[in-house]
């Protein structure tokens, strides 16, 4: 039944909401929760309990009513006590057999003596009966049903930042926020309720001044621009350095605060008596919430069980709202500070019975509350035998509180049990964490306000705003919580935990069985392990355990309060996933040629090219055939591409690679193996010497980023006079291989490709198809071939030219699979495919690459020790006979000798060129002799024989790739500079790039590709002087930028790296200028984007964990950070009064970055725009 409207209520009576529950139609109002609407429509049974299927109604109306869990379509376990009512909801109760009313499980309570505490554990004790019990439990238990066909919900997470985060918007939290904001801090107040106010909005005691105090606080908060209030949002956990997930129905905000105030209040705790779970028995605060928030009359006639002044106020509130209070029963010997309230009640005819207890709730035929059975308490605290029944349809419980200290525990607060308030209070708080109000043991309303001001001031000071004022308050004059609100009953059903239907006797039995530690008791009894996680049961459980074991609550201690505070839906936890992908500049070419893609670390590579009507294997073999007999072209742009420049560049390579590089002639290349300190092979590649002080070298695809990082660390330590530049994404690279490769290339370059002028293993710089290129004559797949590296922006043009020139010679693009086959035929190993975390060069026949007489290289000392030990394994070639038609082993199938494991296969393939299967395998050294036989066990257990064979399998003397020894001088080297093609445009479908034809998008959130702008980069100790000499201004601070005359900018990235961007006329002369000493040119082939508009901040907060708001664009900051998982350089600015950023990233991340940011921009109401739209 609804009450007349009251001024502070949360419902809008002009907007009725229709819904159904268990097949019946109901009407509530906008602003109702499901439970308040049902209770207001006089529904009394809202759900069934978990174990005994007892009818349950409203208990807390504060997110602990876990017996009123409902299902709505595919949404399970809706917490109806706090879930807003939505028109058209069709709800059913969970955990029933045949509906709420007719639930076949409702008689289970009669079997309760057969279901003792720890029943599960006991049942599962018998191995034989385990399956039966498991089937039964799976059938009987579980709450809502998961619908696996639910549509995907978009729930993007976002980062957020504030100076002071206040958790809880009650009286203490609001005054804390005001105090902090007054000291200048930006404050966020978060509260799980739909509106701010907390208990100050309903614990009125029919005293209008209490409500006025709250209204004044709310008005001041609303008027304070530095306070943001987030309602219907809860702080779900506390993580290191004040990192708090804030969860709402839509998403998770990851809040980083300067300091935190816990004003989370307290959970009202139930009293324990027989039938304390009847619908109609509820916490006093639940009744007050029903009345003042939702205008619902909780009952017609009530008995109030109290042990504090809050109970007397609740009785006055009931009276004020037309509920007859039949009696107020106080567990204490007197009303204490509530004496004046007791007199008010008595004056209006309410019987006030101090020193009494409710010992039993009396049920009517439907199982609803029909009365309270009370008794006087004796000196020992137990009820006297004489009982008295008072008719009522509801019992209010107001006997105490437990602090909502979950996040305080998670933050590492030391808590102590304070007898003056009979609760745990913070004893030692971690740095930057503060507590106030009820969670701090301060209960009286005006004291909560004062405590909040103190905590807010201290928190602001801790975050760097103002100075801390206010001292901790003296203790409360009387305890708001009763130390033992519990009465025993021979018939039990005096529930301690409503989630799990745990009764007082279950605790006694558990302790008797030896589970007398709080953590053991919890697990054995499952107290606090239900959906409300002990919010209404842990405190009573602790009191019971303390009494049973003769300890003080402090000695018993509490269980661990882990995140999350409330259950968080999976969709909210998942958020939006970011999976960065790199694409070489040739991705669009591969797509056009029918590439089948495969992941290679963070890269996508063509596995093979699909030819219509042919299967995968046929395509791969044709590709390999083309390379062996004509010419093939493969994209090797995923290889790491590094440069080391400077007088000690050779010395650096000597230290990090196992071979000699000091004696490498300019214009030549050499294979390179890298080990870690233990001598294990970690990477390989090719080192090319471009000049005395300049090397260009490659790493494996998977090693590109990590090798660069580690080399940077080593030189941070060694301080050699050289610089390392990572050009992995800046260069496109292809390998043109096959007997006709020279013919193809000859048509595109004026370079002398004769064996004399460009010998095997030489490196040359020249032009191919008019594009400045670096060419290396390497073996790679065992044919005559060239690895050609060009600036990324020109990669597509190079590819097109080579494919065109090769068309008449039968050129085929080939993918990773054909490459693996071709390289296996040559016996080339793949690091981390044919090696593992224990493989040294000695195990794989690479002794020739180890120059042990060098002064030092990483891994050398370990290898000298390892060399003295006998080998445990050797990598050998294996072959199968030409006619063999049986099954082949798979990679990782084991080599077996004498019944023992004697090795494993690392690579295997059928070679069409050779006409038989070949592979590589680790075997015991005694099995490694060529010509011998090894047994390999297939996955199905069958054994096959393979022959140990020398490698290479194909062209063992390497005739096809080599010729006479090198002669002649290297051709002059030319520097490679930028192009005019955007890596974004190259990698993204044109339709995505098409700017939307609404200039308004640039005001909301526009995104534009500006990669085509010309730019150069350089770094090194001489960079500043070099740029200055070229007439450029130098930003004074690291990570700042300056505008350039005539447009463009110069950005200082860190101390000694620079990025210059601007019109071609400005950049071209810089690119052509000879580099000075200590200057290491950085080829910039960036993806460059600009974004702007009113919703930019939202996009940044969804994609980047750096707070841009406090940055002052006038200071011209440059931010090097990570966005959607990609390393980026960001310059925040303002354009036309709206926020604006420029973003640069490695060009190979360009398509991913563009698509991801554009997708988010569109979600936020923006879209792609032309770059000039922001002007």
């Amino acid at each position: 039944m609804r009450l007349p409207a009251n001024s502070g209520e949360w419902i809008d009576r002009s907007r009725p909401v229709e819904f159904s529950f268990e097949g019946r139609s109901y009407k509530g109002y906008e602003g109702d929760t499901v439970s308040s609407a049902l209770w207001g429509a006089d529904a009394r049974v809202l759900g069934r309990s978990f174990k005994y299927h007892r009818p349950r109604g409203v208990l807390s109306l504060a997110n602990h009513d876990t017996n009123a869990l409902h299902q709505w379509g595919g949404i399970p376990n809706i917490r109806s006590d706090v879930t807003p009512l939505v028109a058209g909801m069709a709800l059913t109760a969970v955990n029933t057999f045949g509906g709420l009313e007719a639930d076949k499980g409702r008689h289970l309570g009669k079997l309760s003596s057969l279901l003792p505490v720890g029943f599960y554990y006991k049942a599962f004790h018998s191995k034989k009966l385990f399956p039966m019990w498991e089937r039964m439990f799976r059938f009987m238990t579980g709450l809502g049903r998961v619908d696996v066909n639910m549509p995907h919900r978009r729930t993007p997470k976002a980062y957020d930042f504030c100076d002071v985060l206040v958790i809880g918007a009650g009286a203490s939290g609001l005054s804390a926020a005001l105090a902090a904001a007054e000291q200048g801090a930006e404050v966020v107040v978060v509260d799980e309720n739909a509106r701010a106010g907390g208990s100050a909005g309903y614990q009125l005691g029919n005293d209008a001044s209490r409500r006025r105090l709250l209204d004044s606080l709310l008005a001041r908060v609303a008027a304070e621009p530095r306070i943001r209030v987030l309602t219907a949002t809860y702080a779900a956990g506390y993580y290191k350095d004040h990192w708090i997930p804030l969860v709402s129905a839509e998403r998770m905000l990851k809040m980083r605060a300067g300091s935190v105030v816990l004003a989370s209040g307290a959970f009202e705790q139930p009293a324990v008596f027989h039938n304390n779970d009847l619908p109609g028995v509820m916490l006093a605060s639940a009744a007050q919430r029903l009345m003042y928030r939702y205008g619902v009359k909780p009952m017609n006639k009530a008995v109030v069980l109290a042990a504090n002044a809050d109970g007397y106020r609740a009785a006055l509130d009931l009276q004020a709202n037309g509920v007859t209070v039949a009696a107020l029963v106080d567990l204490r010997g007197g009303a204490g500070s509530a004496d004046p309230l007791a007199r008010l009640l008595q004056q209006s005819g309410v019987e006030v019975l101090v020193g009494h207890a409710v010992v039993e709730g009396i049920a009517d035929g439907k199982g609803l509350c029909a009365g309270a059975r009370i008794a006087a308490l004796q000196a020992d605290g137990t009820p006297a035998a004489q009982r008295r029944d008072i008719a009522c349809d509801g019992i209010l419980m107001s006997t105490g509180w437990a602090p909502a200290a979950n996040l305080l525990y998670q933050a590492g607060t030391r808590m102590r049990y304070d007898k003056s308030v009979e609760q745990f209070v913070p004893d030692v708080l971690p740095e930057g964490v503060f507590a106030c109000g009820r969670v701090n043991g301060v209960h009286e309303l005006s004291r909560r306000v004062a405590d909040g001001s103190r905590a807010g001031s201290h928190a602001a000071a801790a975050a760097g705003f103002g100075s801390a004022t206010g001292e901790a308050l003296p203790p409360e004059l009387e305890s708001p919580s009763h130390p033992w609100p519990i009465v025993d009953h021979p018939a039990g059903k005096n529930f301690v935990d409503f989630d799990e239907d745990l009764q007082l006797k279950d605790f006694r039995n558990a302790v008797q069985e030896g589970f007398d530690n709080i953590e053991l008791l919890k697990r054995f009894s499952t107290n606090g392990m239900g959906p409300s996680q002990g919010k209404h049961s842990n405190m009573n459980g602790l009191r019971i355990l303390a009494r049973l074991t003769g300890k003080e609550p402090q000695q018993v201690g509490t269980t661990t309060a882990r995140p999350f505070y409330h259950p968080v839906p999976m969709a909210i936890l998942a958020g939006r996933g970011f999976s960065p992908e790199r694409a070489t500049p040739l991705a669009s070419r591969h797509d056009a040629l029918g590439a089948k893609w495969m992941p290679a670390g963070v890269w996508q590579r063509p596995e093979y090219y699909q030819v219509a009507g042919k299967d995968r294997l046929a395509c791969i073999r044709e590709e390999a055939h083309a390379v062996r007999n004509a010419v093939g072209l493969i994209d090797v742009g995923t290889l790491g591409k590094l440069e080391v420049i400077g007088p000690q560049a050779a010395e650096f390579l000597e230290r990090v690679y196992t071979s000699n590089y000091a004696n490498l002639k300019v214009g030549m290349t050499r294979y390179a193996v890298m080990c870690d300190e233990s001598g294990v092979v970690i990477d390989d590649g090719v080192v090319a010497r471009l000049a005395d002080d300049h090397f260009y070298f490659t790493t494996t695809t998977s090693g590109a980023a990590t090798i660069y990082r580690e080399l940077s660390r080593l030189n941070t330590m060694w301080r050699l006079d050289c610089g390392i530049v990572n050009h992995t994404g800046a260069f496109a690279a292809v390998n043109l291989a096959g007997p006709k490769s020279r013919e193809v290339l000859a048509g595109l370059t004026g370079m002398d490709l004769s064996a004399a002028a460009f010998p095997y293993l030489a490196v040359r710089e020249g032009e191919v198809a008019g594009i400045a290129a670096r060419l290396m004559r390497v073996g790679f797949v065992g044919e005559w071939g060239y690895e050609i590296h060009v600036p990324a922006a020109r990669g597509g043009a190079l590819w097109d030219a080579l494919m065109k020139a090769g068309a008449s010679r039968g050129i085929r693009p080939f993918g990773v699979e054909a490459q693996r086959l071709l390289r296996l035929e040559k016996g080339h190993i793949i690091i981390s495919q044919d090696t593992d975390g224990l493989t040294t060069p000695l195990d794989v026949g690479m002794e020739w690459a180890l120059k042990m007489n060098k002064p030092f290289f990483v891994g050398q000392r370990s290898l000298s020790a390892v060399a003295k030990l006998p080998r445990k394994q050797k990598l050998v070639g294996i072959t199968f006979p030409a006619g063999y038609g049986g099954p082949l082993p798979l990679e990782c199938n084991l080599v077996i000798a004498g019944g023992d494991i004697a090795g494993r296969v690392t690579s295997i393939a059928y070679s069409p060129t050779l006409g038989h299967a070949i592979g590589l395998a680790f075997v015991r050294p005694d099995l490694a002799t060529p010509g011998g036989s090894v047994s390999i066990r297939l996955s199905d257990g069958a054994m096959v024989q393979a022959k140990v064979s020398a490698t290479p399998f194909y062209d063992p003397d390497n005739q096809r790739q080599k010729d006479e020894p090198p002669a002649g001088q290297a051709s002059p080297l030319v520097s490679a500079n930028g192009g005019a093609v955007s890596p974004v445009a190259e990698g993204v479908a044109a339709t995505l790039l098409e700017p939307v034809r609404q200039p308004a998008a640039a005001q909301v959130l526009g995104i534009a590709d500006v990669s085509r702008s010309a730019r150069i980069g350089c770094k090194g100790p001489g960079a500043t002087a070099w740029l200055q000499a070229l007439g450029l201004p130098i930003p004074a601070q690291p990570n700042s930028w300056l505008p350039l005359d005539g447009g463009g900018l110069i950005a200082r990235l860190g101390f000694t790296e620079f990025l210059v961007e601007g019109p071609d006329a400005l950049i071209a002369p810089l690119a052509a200028a000879p580099r000075g000493p200590g200057v290491y040119p950085v080829l910039r082939q960036d993806a460059a984007l600009v974004l702007g508009g009113s919703r930019l901040d939202e996009l940044l907060r969804q994609t980047c964990n750096v707070n841009f708001r406090p940055l002052d664009p006038a200071q011209r900051p440059v931010v090097l950070t990570s966005m959607v998982g990609v390393g980026v350089t960001v310059i925040p600015e303002t354009r036309n009064g709206r926020p604006f950023v420029r973003i640069w990233s490695d060009g190979t991340y360009g398509p991913y970055l563009w698509e991801t940011l554009l997708g988010i921009a569109i979600e936020l109401g923006g879209g792609a725009v032309a770059p000039h739209s922001f002007n």
Binding site: K254, G1054, L1120, S1122, G1127
Partner: protein, 85 residues
């Protein structure tokens, strides 16, 4: 998520950083015994206390040293590497 203070880029979430390991002086490879060398290569000190560690701010490829108290779970200070102490 923890905050680490990069000496170049300032305080950033730890997800922007790469952890390498403790700064440990390398014994002279020419004079170290096999056992002493193996101890250097394979053994790490896991005892809680203040550790001097290599960290890298990955977006800017900035290597620096962090002194971290693994017992109290706090970063004591961060600074650029200044050579062997």
């Amino acid at each position: 998520m923890k905050i680490l203070n990069c000496p170049l880029n300032g305080p950033r979430p730890v997800s922007e950083f790469y952890y390498w390991g403790e700064v440990r002086p390398m014994p002279n490879p020419a004079t170290a015994s096999d056992d002493a060398w193996a101890d250097y290569v394979f053994n790490r000190n896991g005892a809680p206390g203040v550790k001097k560690e290599w960290w890298c701010h990955t977006p800017s490829n900035t290597w620096f040293i962090a002194e971290r108290d693994t017992e109290k779970d706090v970063v004591v200070r961060t600074y650029f590497y200044e050579g062997e102490a």
